[in-house]
Structures are given as C-alpha cells and as structure tokens.
C-alpha cells in the first residue's frame, strides 16, 4: 500500500510541477524574448508580469470554443488531447532524482521514443481534421519533418545507451558519475538536440507552424482552450527535451554540494533558456534545406557516431 501512495504522490508532484512550469514558461519566454530584443515584454499583470499566463488562461477559457463546420468534428476535438497526453506520459520515465521517478522502466528510453513518435499524430490528424488549406499544408510539412528527425533522434541516443549498457534512464545517469556523456558523445548530443528541436517544432525548425506563410500551420483552425492545449503541449515538449538532454548527456541529477533535485532543475533550466535564445536569434530555415540537412548531414554523423562508439565499447571490453 505504501508503494502505491508513494507512486501516486510522485505522479501528483510531477504533473503539478510540470504543468505549472509549462504555464510559467510562456511568460518566461515572452519576457526573455523582450529583453533580448530590447523591449519589456509582458510586465503588467502581477509582479513583473508573473501572472501573465494566468490572465492568458482566463482569456482562453472564456473565448468562444469554435469548431469549423467543415471540420471532422470527432477527430478535431480529440487531437489537442493527444498533444498533452503524449507529452505528459513521457514524464513518467524521467528520473528527477534517485528514486524520484514514476516508472523506472527497463526500457525507459524506448518508452520516451514511443511517446514522441505517437505525438506526431496530433500534428497530422489535427491538420487533416481541420479540413483547411493552411492547416493541411502545415501538417504535410510536419509529417516529413517529424518522420525524418525521429530516425536521427533514435540513432543519436543509442551512443549513450551503448556507453551505459542500459535502456534504463536512472542507470544511464548513474553511468555518468565520472564523465558526462556529452564529452565522448558530443556528436550524439548535437544530433539529439537538433532532432529534439525539430520534434518540438521550435525555431529554427518551426516550419509546420510558420506564421508568416501558413497562418499557424496545423492548428490554424483551433481556438479557445483547444489552441491552449497545443500551446501548453509545445512548452511541455520543450521541458521534456531539456530534461532528456540533461539525463542523457549532462549527468542528470549528479553534481556536488547541492541536492540532486536542485541540480536537475538548474541543468534543465539552462537548456530551456538556450532553446528560447535560439528562437530569439535564429531565422527559420527553408523547408527543403531542413530535410536535406537532416538526411545528408545529421544522419551520416549519427551513423558514424554509433559505429565508432560501438567499436570503442567492444575494444574496451576486450
């Protein structure tokens, strides 16, 4: 019984923490973008604009929840749920500190990859069910992008898995006690970071929702809290991406002096801010460049990385 209540408590803490953080990040991103672009950003609601997300949420809840008459209604309503569910499910395997994890699965990484690949449906079906040209174009781009970068994501993770000798995320963190995997696996880290940006459709890979040409891409027809769920889902995947980078390549909760949870939080925050900084400073790439860069540069690098890592691991094992 004690075990169950502990698991339930962990779930509540992680769910609450992650969702609050996602809402807070909306404000953090807008504020940081403002500062980097020499303006203020939202600073009116609450101290320093801290309650801006709350105000946004109130507005989204009171907006008219409009479903276009030409849309495929059932699928249209279902889609925003897929975004949030797949992102939240992935957090089940994320170890925040030793023992502080909902499900310490033996195949943790595979579970994460499975949830990432299921998240693709939200984009595809959302664009299709909207039954409008912009949304459809956005989802067409998204499919090509997500399918391509999923391959590299899986490949670049495998180097870290080889070094740790396990698919279990806690064991991967423990294997980095002496050396963070970012050193031997620098190519793997670069590949994973790029693939992750593409999976979370963040700049410079935010082609599916390019607002200048596609209105908003696959979620152009969504309004009210349904749009809000796409929005929250995007921030959830930013948190997830940062957390996975920290776990796989930057030693997870490991660090001197401070408690493990604090280290994990600090390291994750660094990557979240880095992703925001990329958005503030980089232009969006052209779509064919994005795909050819993936297949012609990232893919060979990931394969070579895997080959060399495998060779070194075998050679060391004797």
């Amino acid at each position: 019984m004690i075990d169950w209540s502990r698991t339930a408590l962990t779930i509540v803490v992680i769910l609450g923490g992650v969702l609050t953080l996602a809402a807070l990040l909306v404000w953090v991103e807008r504020r940081l973008l403002g500062i980097w672009q020499e303006r203020y950003g939202p600073n009116r609601v609450g101290p320093g604009g801290l309650l801006q997300s709350l105000a946004d949420m109130l507005k989204l809840f009171t907006k008219e929840d409009w479903i276009p008459p030409f849309a495929d209604k059932a699928v249209f309503v279902l889609t925003p749920a897929i975004v949030v569910i797949t992102a939240l499910m992935s957090f089940a395997v994320v170890p925040i500190a030793p023992g502080f994890v909902v499900a310490d699965l033996n195949m943790g990484i595979l579970f994460f990859l499975a949830m990432t690949s299921l998240a693709a449906y939200s984009v595809i079906i959302g664009g299709w069910a909207s039954n409008s040209k912009f949304a459809f174009l956005g989802s067409l781009r998204a499919i090509a992008q997500l399918l391509s970068y999923e391959v590299f994501m899986g490949l670049s993770v495998m180097g870290a898995v080889l070094l740790a000798g396990s698919f279990n995320l806690s064991e991967i963190v423990e294997a980095q006690r002496h050396l963070w995997f970012v050193v031997p696996q620098f190519l793997g880290f670069l590949g994973f970071f790029m693939a992750g940006l593409a999976e979370a459709h963040r700049t410079p890979f935010d082609m599916p929702e390019a607002e200048a040409e596609l209105v908003a891409g696959y979620h152009a027809e969504y309004s009210g809290m349904k749009f809000g769920m796409f929005f929250v889902g995007e921030y959830l995947s930013v948190i997830l991406l940062s957390a996975m980078i920290v776990i796989l390549f930057f030693g997870g909760w490991l660090g001197p002096w401070l408690p493990p949870v604090v280290w994990f939080f600090l390291k994750t925050s660094v990557f979240i801010v880095l992703i925001f900084l990329i958005r503030a400073t980089w232009p969006r790439v052209r779509f064919d460049q994005l795909l050819s860069f993936g297949w012609k540069v990232v893919m060979p690098l990931a394969l070579i990385n895997l080959l060399v890592t495998g060779g070194v691991v075998l050679w060391k094992a004797g």
Partner: protein
C-alpha cells in the same frame, strides 16, 4: 494482470473490427493505430517489453503515419463508394471462415485444457543473440530487401534538371 490482458484483448478486437467495417478511410486507420497500441500492451503484459516498445515506435509511430499520409493525399475520401462496396453480401465469406475459427476456440475452451497466461520475460540481449545467431540469414535477407527500396526511392527522388534551385 489477467484482467488487464483481457481488457487489452477486447480493445484490440473491437478496434480491428472497426478498421474493417468503417467506411471512412482515415477513421479506419486511426482505429488501426489503437489496435496496434493495444497489441503493444498485450506484448508488454506477456513479458515482451522490447517487442512492445518496437510495436509502438515502428508500427504505431512510423508506418501508420505513412499510411495516413498517403490516404490523406488521395484527396476527398469516397465515403459513398466505400458504402456501396460494403454490401451485406461481402460479409458471407469472412463470416463463415471466422465462424469455423470460433468453433475451434469454443471446442478448446470446452475441452477444459486451457493454460493460464504464461509470462516469460524476454530480455533485449536474448532477442539480439537469437537474431544475430541462428536467424542471421533472415536479418541479412530483410536488409537486402530494404536496400533496393532505399535505392529506388533515391532514384525516384533524384533531380534530373541541372539548373540551380
């Protein structure tokens, strides 16, 4: 555990039936995705964790996405045409065959010799050793089959004109 197994089994069966009977192609494919996820859960419950994960990553995540992609590209979906194809007459053949199988299952249950679900955890290492040991020929043949596909796709996607983009 057995309750979970039966629930997942029922979900798989219902979803699969809907795949066949649904007149709307994309909706049918979504049911197929649900069936694959439920099947992955069954694999997991039977101890084949690795197969479960691959089922979702490869079938649920990659292959079905491509299916939906192609169906979406086929343009306005011919629901009326699909309805005209699914006449009661078409059900006779499959129903008779399925009834035969149902009879066999009924006999097996009635014979009372049914085994409880036998859970045996399959490790990734075990799968790899088997794949790259006794079944290496199969792996090699499959990769040889995939290579022509890759080369063919490259050939079809090649740019013929020499003018700059």
């Amino acid at each position: 555990m057995e309750v979970l197994f039966y629930i997942a089994a029922v979900v798989t069966l219902v979803a699969t039936v809907r795949v066949i009977t649904h007149v709307h192609a994309v909706h049918a494919l979504l049911y197929l995705v649900v069936a694959l996820i439920a099947l992955a859960l069954i694999f997991y419950l039977l101890g084949a964790q690795f197969a479960a994960a691959l089922e979702i990553i490869i079938y649920g995540g990659a292959i079905m996405v491509l299916f939906i992609f192609v169906v979406m590209l086929l343009g306005p979906l011919a629901v009326e045409q699909e309805k005209s194809w699914l006449t009661p007459g078409t059900w006779v053949g499959p129903s008779v065959l399925a009834l035969v199988l149902l009879g066999e299952v009924g006999y097996l249950i009635a014979a009372g010799d049914h085994l409880p679900i036998d859970v045996m955890e399959t490790r990734r290492k075990g799968i790899s050793i088997v794949l790259y040991g006794p079944y290496i020929i199969g792996v090699e043949l499959a990769s040889m089959l995939l290579l022509p596909g890759l080369i063919g796709a490259y050939h079809l996607g090649r740019r013929v004109s020499k003018e700059p983009r």
